[in-house]
Every structure is written in C-alpha cells, then in structure tokens.
C-alpha cells in the first residue's frame, strides 16, 4: 500500500494541491468581495466562504436535491439537469451538513479519486511519463475549477475513469456500474460507450460467453442508464420529454445549422465576451485530441472526446463548451504528450495554475 501510494504521490499532490488553489481562490473572492458581479441565479447563497462554488447551475442541482424535478413550461427549469449529483446530495443529507458543504465535499473528494483513476487508466494506454503529465495537467487545467463547484463533473470524471479502467482490467460488472453512474451524471458520458465497446470487443472475446456478455453489457450500461432518466421524468412528471422541453427553454435545442449559428453568435452584437473563452477552449481541446491521435490512441477514444466537445455546438452556441470539454479525456493525453519534457511541463503547469486561480475568481462574472 505504501509503495502504491509512494508511486502516486506526485499525482495525489497535484490533485490535492490544485483543489487547495481553487478553494483558496474562492475564499479570497469572498473575503475581498472582488470581482464584483451580480448574484447569478436567484436563490444562490452568498453567505458561505465558498459560496461562489455553488453559483450558476449549482443552484439548480440544489433545488433538485431539495425538492425534486418540475418542468415549468416557457421558463428555465430543472429537468435539464441530470440526477446523479442531486441523488448523492440527498443521500448524504443525513450527515447534517448543508447542501452547499456536502456538494463541495463530494465534488472535491470525487475529483481526487477521478484524477488517480485517470492516471491508472492513462498508464494502460500511454507511456508512464505521458500518463503522469496528463494527470497533472488534468488537475491544474484552467477550467478544472468546475470540478470543485457543486456540479456533477467530478463525479462523472471519477465514474468514467473507473468504468474505463475496470473495462481494461476485464472487471465488466464494476465497469458497467461505474459507466451507468457516469451517464446518470451527465449525458456526455454516453460517448464513452464507444471506447467501452471497443475494449469489450477486444477483451470480451477472450473471456467466454458469460464474460463476453458482461463485456457487451458494460458497453451498453451508459446508454441503458441514460434511458432511465426520461422514464423517471415520465413517471414523476407525467412527461417523458421533460428533459427536451427544459433544454429548449435553456436555448439548448439541437439543429442541423447549429454549428453555423454558433459561429454567427460569436460576432453578434451584445454577446458576452466570455463566449470567446469557450471558443478558445473548444479549439484547445480539439488541438489536443489531434495530438493524442499521434500518440497512437485508437479512434473510438478520439471520436468520444471530439464528440463531447463538438456536439454541444449543434445547439447553436459555444456557451459552456469549455466546461463540457473538461471530460474529454483524450485531450489530457495530448497535453501530456506535449508537456512530457520537464522543460515544457513546469512552465505549463505554472501558467495553468495561474489561469485556474483566475478562472475560479471570475466565476461570479460568467457561467462556466
């Protein structure tokens, strides 16, 4: 155990250290009252030292945890948010902590597990030095402050990395459970059914009919899990299409000309300048995925990563693409390959950490 820990000391230090930076920046933001921004959503708490980590969608996840779903036609409402995070918050209600404190503890705890699992996964797919750098870059990635917010991203990162890691180890049932959990957290997790299927085809053949079946089951688990959400909404709200209805109210309906509209929106008058941050990160993710392809990462992984970054653009906006992309695992392998040399790695991590602090402190100004 101590040997295992010693080997992963740098990864754990990066995961914990980056969270200390994020939590410190959030606390400084609260203490200094800087930068000043409007309270983003009604009902957002501003009293807690780490309040800013519960802003924006965090308020909606808390509402679901407290009061369940309700589709309110013609208005932005909560069925647009997947249920894993509220389920976990509600399950831990018995601890007697506030939803905000529980949310921050869950998000940050899951992130540390996620980074270690991602490192283990990376070791099986890329050289060890690239795996180590990739995990460090993921920990200090400028947008990784969302993993500390009361959002499901860190739970999904952990579940996804574990699902893929278990699949590579041939532990199909565990992989299926983790994959199903990831898909219950965010629908994008479904894209990773593709690498799961590739692993299942590759390894399942060797493990007999039962193992083969469990392997295919593990690949289908995220899809089966996602399908239960509309079923649940149908049961609870008498409306199985509530998710689509809510997405439309949030301006997130898919259309064929979505990507064209997303580009038009960039230059439209009166648009938020923060859109350019999302655009820039979209390019960065795609560039890093291209670099990952040169590492010999197989196409199902690359397609899953690219789909995760590109598909949201079909809703006609780049808005939040920088956040969606934090789950594009192949992008971190691309970054790991670029920064495997110490000469590049150190400055990159320092710049990333600086941007991470800046990103955290500007949470009140822009929806990540």
């Amino acid at each position: 155990m101590s040997m295992w820990l010693r080997e992963r000391r740098a990864i754990l230090a990066a995961a914990v250290g980056s969270r200390v930076l994020v939590l410190g920046a959030a606390a400084a933001d609260h203490r200094l009252h800087w930068p000043h921004g409007p309270v983003p959503v009604h009902g957002a708490s501003t009293a807690h030292t780490l309040s800013i980590l519960s802003f924006w969608d965090g308020v909606w996840y808390r509402t679901v945890a407290e009061q369940g779903y309700l589709l309110i036609p013609g208005r932005q409402s909560d069925p647009a948010f997947f249920p894993l995070f509220p389920i976990v918050l509600r399950a831990l209600e018995g601890l007697g902590l506030s939803f905000l404190t529980t949310g921050i503890l869950v998000a940050n705890g899951a992130f540390v597990i996620g980074i270690v699992a991602f490192y283990e996964l990376s070791r099986r797919l890329v050289p060890v030095d690239v795996a180590r750098t990739s995990a460090m870059v993921a920990a200090f990635f400028p947008m990784s402050f969302v993993f500390s917010m009361t959002y499901p991203e860190s739970l999904v990162l952990a579940a996804l990395a574990l699902a893929l890691l278990f699949a590579l180890s041939g532990r199909w049932t565990l992989s299926a459970v983790a994959g199903a959990a990831a898909a219950l957290g965010r629908p994008e997790a479904m894209f990773f059914a593709l690498p799961l299927a590739a692993i299942a085809i590759g390894l399942g053949r060797l493990s007999g009919s039962k193992g083969n079946g469990r392997a295919i089951g593990a690949a289908f688990a995220p899809v089966a899990s996602i399908a239960t959400f509309p079923l649940y909404l149908g049961w609870a709200l008498d409306n199985p299409t509530a998710w689509n209805g809510a997405q439309r109210a949030w301006g997130r309906s898919f259309s064929l000309d979505g990507i064209v509209r997303a580009f038009h929106q960039l230059s439209a008058r009166g648009q938020s300048p923060w859109l350019w941050r999302d655009f820039a990160f979209c390019l960065i993710y795609l560039g890093l995925i291209v670099v990952a392809s040169r590492l010999g990462i197989s196409w199902p992984w690359l397609v899953a990563g690219a789909a995760l970054v590109l598909l949201p653009l079909a809703t006609g906006t780049f808005m939040s693409d920088s956040r969606f992309g934090v789950l594009a695992l192949p992008a971190y392998w691309g970054a790991g390959a670029l920064a495997r040399r110490r000469l590049v790695r150190l400055p990159l991590l320092v710049v990333s950490a600086g941007l991470l602090v800046a990103g955290t402190m500007t949470i009140p100004l822009a929806n990540p």
Binding site: H42, T63, V64, A65, Q67, G68, Y69, L70, L71, I72, P73, G74, R75, S77, P83, P86, I87, R90, A91, W172, T173, A176, V177, A180, L184, G204, S209, K210, N212, G213, R214, A215, I216, G217, A218, F220, A221, V223, A224, S225, A227, T228, F229, L231, Y232, W235, A236, L237, D238, R269, G270
Partner: protein
Amino acid sequence: MAASESSIKPASSRTGWVRLAVASGATAAGLAALLAGAAFGLQAVTLPRPSRPQLMAAQTMRWLTAQHAIKSLVLVRGRQVSSICVNATIGPLGRRAHRLNGSLVVTGRRRFVETRFASFRVGSTLREEDGPLPAIRAVLAGCPRALERRIGRFLDDRAPVEAKRVFLYGGRMLRLSFRRRHSRLFLIVDPRTFAPVAVRIAREGTGWSYLAPAERRDLVQSPLRLSRRLRLIVKEDA
C-alpha cells in the same frame, strides 16, 4: 468419409457460435436491464416528486405558452369591464437595446404595455408607470406572459399549490390556490385542458377576472391599432 466430416463440422461450429451469441446477448441484456432498473429505482426512491396540483399548474403554464391573446371580464363596482391582452415585443427602450417580450393590454380606450422590468402607459408616446399595479392589472387581464410569470414564480419556489373542485359555467372546474409568504393567487382552470377560466389575486378590492382566448374579431378592434411611430417600438405578436 472425409466429405461427410467436413459437412458436419461447420454446422456444429455454427450452432456453437449461435449459442455463444444468444448466451452473450442474454447476459448483456440482463446486466443492462438490472442496471437500468437500479438507476430508475434510485431516482424514484431518492428524489421527491412534485404534488399533483403543482403538475396541474405546470399544465396551465403549458397552455398559456401556446396563447397569443386573451380577453377578460371583471366586475368593478358593479360594472363589467372587459380587456384584451396580446403578446407583444417591446423595444428598444432607453438603454436597453434588446427587444423584450411583453404584453399589450387594452381596456376600453386605455392601453398599456407590461414587461418583466417595467410597464408603460401607451398614449401618443410611452410613459413609464411605477408600482406593482400595472403587473397586477396584466395578470387580471389574463395576459399569457404576465400570468405565466406569476405562476412560474410560485413554481420556481415550489410554493404549495392546493387544488379544489368547484362549479363554474355549469361545469366542474378546478380551483388552484398558490401561496407564498404574503402573496396568493387563485386560478380556476378547465380540468380537461388546464386552460385558466378565472383568476384572482388575493388583494383588497380585486375580484375574480373571467378569461377566454381572444377570437379573431376581438383582435380587429381599433384601440389595438397603434400609431406608426409606436409600432416601431411595440410589435403585436397576435
């Protein structure tokens, strides 16, 4: 002999392959179904469900989002006063460059526009009106957007909603009562379509206002027509 062996071998391997595929498929489907069942159960057991009256109120919201114009009738000091309200887009107004969704309310010869942020009396120009009264008048006039906003606020806060059966126009209707701190709203809705047929705000001096979707002939009345200058700012959707 060799020929007969070769004809048996592929058949048995095909049977074995089919058996393997069926067994694998069944295991995969079983695992996926088990996980789907667990995922559904987890959501059903952990997350609270909205109450039936809250769902009815959401249905009323859905009906309202499909409406462009509503007419209303209210009794003021024993006199029937009718209004018509149409959805409109308003702007640009002052520093706000964007057009805003709002409502144009016509009561006799008086007209006003109401938006989320402000209300304006419509004369030869637009004059801003202060206080909560214009918003209340828009709700009582049955303006779909104003009513949506009012009900939506109650639902956003998951305010308790009560449903009671009542009789109106010789038929069975549902009365939905919304309560949040000092604010109360009553709606009578058709239980088949969830269309609101009457609305009341619990406030001194306001009675029930009876609502119906506006018909084409209601929309051609002259007070709805605005001067060319105002039409640049207020555009009717109906």
